[in-house]
């Protein structure tokens, strides 16, 4: 029985199959934006052909998709309407009333997902105690429905004030809409975000609604294809929170897919590092345009609760990662005042770096590597054109060396130093700014360009150890298989911590647990055990920013509440270096992470390739000959002393002077800084 993960990106679809024997098979096929399901099936087929397995042998199928991400970026939303309280129909247009870039007076703010003419206010109010203050004006709901029908609305979001305390009006509106406009999907804000702050609840519901028709159609089409191919297990999809969710849930809550791509990289990197015993890692996923930095402590990736999509805030748990514009295609420029910048503009895949010979005129990070010899003209990367050093040299000279008065190698080194410094700042923002010391972490280098920059980045921030997975270029597809099924539930529950009744709290936990059990039932066929992890958002009374801390297992008791409060005090001290004058705390939100565990993965992916004894000339201050190794030829226990280059189809690893690498479990390269001689 095998497990299959298929990750569809913008250019390529990566498919990974892990057999019962732990052998990993990887396939890469071009994505087909016009017909996404076709690439999915092509990836699946090519794996089954290689392994000789049949569709019926597939015991688990997980999928990463950018369909929601792309719809958000390109704003290809369904025609969506909003129903809210009378007097508040402008909630999405007003938003926070803040401007994105205060110094840019000339660029208009992003338009809301729902245009103003499709926002409807209806009479009725629930008050801050959750009591009905004014009855719902049902006739106004019906006339709004009529206007929506006339306008050809395809999806509806409903947000009424204090629905997180009392959803009666939202539910009644949904019932009226179901009658008045059957078949039009509806998102109720309390069901998506059961927390206070009306604007972010409305904007999250609106974004979810706007994706419902598109994602719903996609999932249905995919399920049909998969079923007709003979696969019997339920489809699971990667979410922004780093776990997968059954297709049925994603169909109702497509917004959870919004940032699933980078999340899969973090989880994939973290789980692959676990193969060599690393539980505290900083994931460094560098591709052509961006670098994503994530942090995983004791095996748990950090989660944050607010983010942004299409210029509007989204309140849903997602893996906390920092994305900066630093990739292989990032462009280096020198302005008229002699300041060198690298990124965020990228040459992308077309025309790409100058060295690709597709007409790229700008010097990029990749061109700098070509000039310095770390990427050789002989290096053949999957799906990439041959590299032309003369073109790279010309671009680096013209764009950087000449204006700065440097020689070619100095200019290329300068490009890499700036790119590395930008990424080092991002690593510090994800670690030291969050109270974590990066020196206690391993750096997991993934993505096509991550393993090329890992040594420099680790040196810059003082990280002593680097992990490069066996297939760094497809770590996200691996993450699909390595992660678990995960549902994040929460509820606003504001109480002074000192005044809580454990029985009252436990009744609230029981309600969340019931919700979670219903969701876990979807995955009953593929789960290998479950876990329920409780958390509380706490803050010092009067603060607005919460910290999330663990709460012990049910039933809630004075002891578990006290322990959570103590964890909060300790965490606050750790993050901010002080304990405030006023020490009362309050609970804001209860959270439940319900996990259905997938089968643990055994990986055996060493050796088999043909050794290739080679060297190439590389510049790292001086020109010298560096050893070149082929990744497919390395055997468990092999040791490589830097400087060296390690090539493979999906990425090139650069091992600097002062570093050495050993081939460890699963073919993973573990790099350590050598002790000073």
């Amino acid at each position: 029985m095998s497990r299959v993960g298929i990750d569809i990106g913008g250019s390529f679809t990566d498919a990974v199959l892990i057999g019962a024997d732990g052998r990993v098979h990887v396939a890469k096929v071009p994505s087909q934006p016009a017909q996404i399901e076709a690439a999915f099936m092509a990836g699946l087929d090519s794996l089954l052909v290689v392994t000789g397995e049949s569709a019926a042998d597939v015991a688990y199928l997980a999928h990463g998709t950018t369909i929601a991400t792309n719809a958000i970026v390109q704003r290809t939303f369904a025609k969506t309407a909003l129903i809210t309280n009378a007097g508040f129909a402008d909630v999405l247009t007003i938003g926070t009333q803040m401007r994105r870039n205060v110094y840019d007076l000339w660029t208009p703010e992003d338009a809301p997902i729902v245009p103003r003419e499709l926002c409807f206010g209806v009479g009725g109010r629930i008050d801050a105690q959750g009591l009905e203050h004014e009855a719902l004006a049902e006739d106004e709901v019906l006339s709004a429905a009529e206007a929506m029908r006339d306008a050809g609305v395809e999806a509806v979001a409903v947000m009424t004030l204090f629905s997180f305390l009392n959803p009666a009006h939202e539910k009644r509106i949904a019932a009226l809409l179901a009658e008045a406009m059957p078949g039009v999907p509806v998102t109720l804000s309390h069901a998506v975000v059961p927390e206070f702050r009306e604007y972010i609840r409305a904007s999250t519901a609106a974004a979810n609604s706007a994706l419902l028709p598109l994602v719903g159609r996609y999932i249905t089409a995919l399920e049909n294809e998969v079923a007709s191919a003979g696969i019997v297990v339920p489809l699971h999809l990667m979410q922004s929170n780093g776990g997968v969710t059954p297709a049925e849930r994603a169909r109702q809550l497509p917004i959870v897919l919004a940032t699933s791509g980078p999340a899969a990289g973090v989880i994939g990197g973290a789980r692959l590092a676990r193969l060599v015993g690393e539980e505290d890692v900083i994931t460094f996923d560098m591709g052509g345009t961006t670098a994503d930095i994530g942090i995983v402590t004791h095996g748990e990736a950090e989660v944050r609760f607010t983010s942004e999509a299409a210029g509007t805030p989204i309140n849903l748990p997602q893996l906390d990662l920092l994305c900066i514009g630093a990739g292989g295609g990032s462009i280096a420029t020198v302005d008229e005042f002699g300041a060198l910048r690298v990124g965020p503009e990228s040459a992308g895949a077309a025309p790409g770096p100058a060295a690709y010979g597709q007409g790229g005129m700008f010097a990029t990070v990749t061109d700098a590597h070509v000039v310095l010899g770390t990427l050789s003209e002989n290096c053949k990367l999957a799906g990439r054109l041959p590299l032309d050093r003369a073109l790279a040299l010309d671009a680096v000279n013209r764009c950087v060396a000449l204006p700065l008065g440097l020689d070619s190698e100095e200019a290329a080194s300068a490009i890499l130093r700036i790119a590395n410094a930008n990424m080092a700042n991002a690593v510090r923002m994800m670690s030291v700014a969050r109270g974590q010391d990066p020196r206690g972490y391993a750096l997991v280098a993934i993505g096509g360009a991550g393993p090329m920059h890992a040594c420099s980045l680790a040196d810059e921030v003082g990280i002593p150890r680097i992990v490069i997975p066996r297939h760094p270029g497809v770590a996200a597809a691996y993450g699909l298989l390595a992660t678990d099924i995960r549902h994040d539930l929460r509820r606003t529950w504001r109480r002074q911590t000192s005044a809580i009744s454990p029985a009252e709290l436990d009744a609230e936990l029981a309600r969340l647990e019931d919700e979670a059990r219903a969701l876990l039932a979807y995955s009953a066929g593929v789960a290998h055990g479950e876990s329920l992890d409780w958390e509380l958002d706490l803050r010092y009374r009067g603060q607005a920013y919460n910290l999330t801390v663990p709460l012990g297992a049910r039933p809630a008791s004075i002891a578990t509440i006290r322990a959570a409060e103590q964890a909060f005090v300790d965490e606050h001290q750790r993050l901010y270096d002080y304990t405030p004058t006023i020490t009362d705390t309050e609970i804001v939100t209860i959270r439940l992470r319900a996990t259905a565990l997938t089968e643990p993965i055994v990986v055996d992916a060493v050796g088999g390739g043909v050794p290739r004894a080679a060297t190439q000339r590389v510049h790292d201050g001086v020109w010298s000959e560096w050893a070149v190794h082929h990744r497919d030829a390395l055997e468990l226990g092999d040791t490589i002393v830097g400087p060296a280059i390690i090539e493979q189809a999906d990425a090139t690893s650069v091992l600097h002077r002062g570093w050495s690498a050993i081939v460890a479990a699963g073919g993973t390269l573990v790099l350590e800084r050598k002790a000073e001689a």
Partner: protein, 534 residues
């Protein structure tokens, strides 16, 4: 101290590192802050400074707080000079010692390296109340500084790591919401300590001479960049004027704001000699805040490539005669300075639009509706201070409408969420909506203002509110034939009579249960002549 100039690449890396330190300080401050002005409205800023007080890097939360901390730090340095010790911390808010208005507490801590003062970390934050005559401290109705709460004239409140308890005790006893004030002060100190830690790490990594060289190079590079851009501008002098509705009291005369701009020898001279003399109300502007307004407008027109530090400041010269609106004489009141700051920004942008017509933009609203009311919440028995700020219309552009419902220019405060207003304060928000037709007409229309109605649920509440730009003659200006935006206003509906009465735009009132305060922000100016029929 030895200074080593970094090479160009190291300089870029150091400069982005300095900026990063300021941003990390801001994260610490924001996440551990208390009062809604900081946590919901982000009315604060963090920065690092050279040993002599020159600004090096800032976190840039709100432009109104940007570019003015160096004035206060200069006062700290001048007062304490050789007596500054490691682990000291200083607090200042004195408007006549480089401060802004009294609710803005500025905290500075020195960074020492091997016994020598090498840099500073600083934080400025708008506290919800610092005592004085009115809840929330700031009011146009104040007539002298002494009504505007506690004054800290560059005071050392932490001595070699030990809190000076007497200062904390007095602070706690003199403000209306001591929990928020003390909590926010803790957050400011934590942010500054984080700044110093990161500075120390940078010095360890690069060595002190190179870090100091990085300070100098950044300032010099910014000055060069600013100068070159100014030299590319037309050299003619331009002027613009605008008016505040009145002195802050009903039936007083409009207040003139006038600017004359000219680039002279690579420096932009901002001459405010044509402004009104100082006025007998809380709407005067401390000199530091006048600079913040000018820096904002100028940076916007410089096009976003110039960071804020002492290098920019060295190329913008303000002329402000003593005893006038933007340089008042002690002890003139100035707690409600923001109204005249926004109007000054608007007038400078008007002048710059004339100087650089390809970047011309219609006026944004400067009505800045705001309120602070104290009331006992019947649900908890606690005294609460509700504060809120409303947006209005942005100015239309040559190619696009103005933004609806924004807090423009040097301000960028969030509107208070309805659910927080009703959960934490004894108020019901009856409506929050855009005002149809409030944007000035034109080929592109100005943005719409926001109206919000606050109904009191407690027995009684007193507080101050203001809405500037209520005079239709002083609405947000249109450009190239675009119409002026509609003015804002304040109104009160008394429960006892059920009647709504438009009231003077700046007031201090007592409300009773069921009374409704209505605040309305003005609309933005239109751009270009409206085509008929549209």
């Amino acid at each position: 101290m030895r200074i080593e100039p970094p090479d160009a690449v190291t300089q870029e890396i150091l400069a982005s590192g300095f900026k990063h330190i300021a941003e990390e300080m801001a994260v610490v401050e924001y996440r551990s802050s208390y009062s809604p002005i900081i946590r919901e409205m982000l009315d604060f800023n963090c920065g690092i400074f050279a040993a002599d007080g020159r600004a090096i890097a800032n976190s840039e939360q709100i432009p109104a707080q940007l570019g003015l901390m160096q004035f206060a730090l200069e006062s700290v340095i001048a007062k304490w000079s050789s007596r500054i010790e490691p682990d000291d911390a200083f607090i200042t808010n004195h408007p006549y010692m480089g401060g802004t208005h009294t609710p803005d507490l500025q905290v500075f801590i020195p960074c020492f390296h091997e016994g020598t003062l090498v840099a500073w970390s600083g934080s400025i934050a708008h506290h919800i109340d610092i005592g004085g005559r009115f809840p929330g401290t700031e009011s146009a109705q104040c007539t002298e500084l002494f009504q505007e709460g506690l004054i800290f004239p560059a005071v050392r409140f932490v001595e070699r790591g030990q809190r000076v308890q007497a200062i904390y005790d007095m602070l706690e006893a003199n403000v209306r919401d001591p929990a928020s004030t003390l909590g926010d002060l803790d957050a400011q100190l934590a942010a500054c300590k984080r700044g110093n830690q990161r500075l120390a790490e940078t010095i360890t990594r690069y060595g002190l001479p190179l870090v100091l060289g990085g300070f100098e190079a950044l300032v010099a590079q910014t000055a060069r960049r600013t100068e070159a851009l100014f030299r590319s501008w037309p050299s003619e002098a331009v002027e613009a004027e605008g008016f505040l509705d009145d002195h802050g009291f009903e039936h007083t005369a409009p207040v003139r704001v006038h600017v004359r701009l000219v680039v002279e020898d690579g420096t932009l001279v901002v001459d405010l000699s044509g402004c009104s003399p100082q006025i007998p109300s809380g709407m005067n502007v401390p000199i530091a805040s006048a600079h913040a307004a000018a820096y904002f407008a100028v940076r916007a027109f410089l096009g976003g490539t110039v960071p804020h530090n002492a290098g920019l400041a060295s190329r913008v010269r303000l002329i402000i005669p003593k005893g006038t609106l933007y340089n008042p004489t002690f002890p003139a009141a100035l707690s409600a300075r923001h109204l005249a700051v926004q109007r000054l920004t608007d007038v400078i942008i008007d002048a710059l639009s004339t100087l650089l017509p390809e970047h011309a933009i219609a006026g944004s609203q400067v009505s800045f509706p705001a309120l602070v009311f104290q009331a006992v919440d019947p649900r908890s028995g606690d005294l609460t201070l509700l504060a809120d700020i409303l947006g209005g219309g942005g100015g239309a552009r040559r190619n696009a409408d103005g933004d609806d419902g924004i807090d423009p220019y040097t301000s960028n405060c969030a509107i208070l969420p309805v659910e927080i207003a009703e959960l934490e304060y004894p108020w019901l928000i009856e409506r929050t909506e855009l005002v149809e037709g409030s944007g000035g007409q034109g080929r592109h229309r100005g943005g719409m203002g926001i109206r919000r109605d606050y109904r009191l649920l407690a027995a009684e509440s007193d507080g101050m509110f203001y809405v500037e730009q209520t005079n239709p003659h002083f609405g947000a200006g249109g450009r190239e034939g675009g119409a002026t935006g509609a003015p804002g206003y304040a109104a009160i509906r008394r429960a006892a009579t059920g009647e709504t009465e438009v009231v003077h735009g700046k007031g201090y009132v007592t409300l009773h249960e069921g009374d409704v305060l209505i605040l309305v922000g003005s609309g933005g100016g239109g751009f270009g002549v409206a085509t008929t029929g549209s």
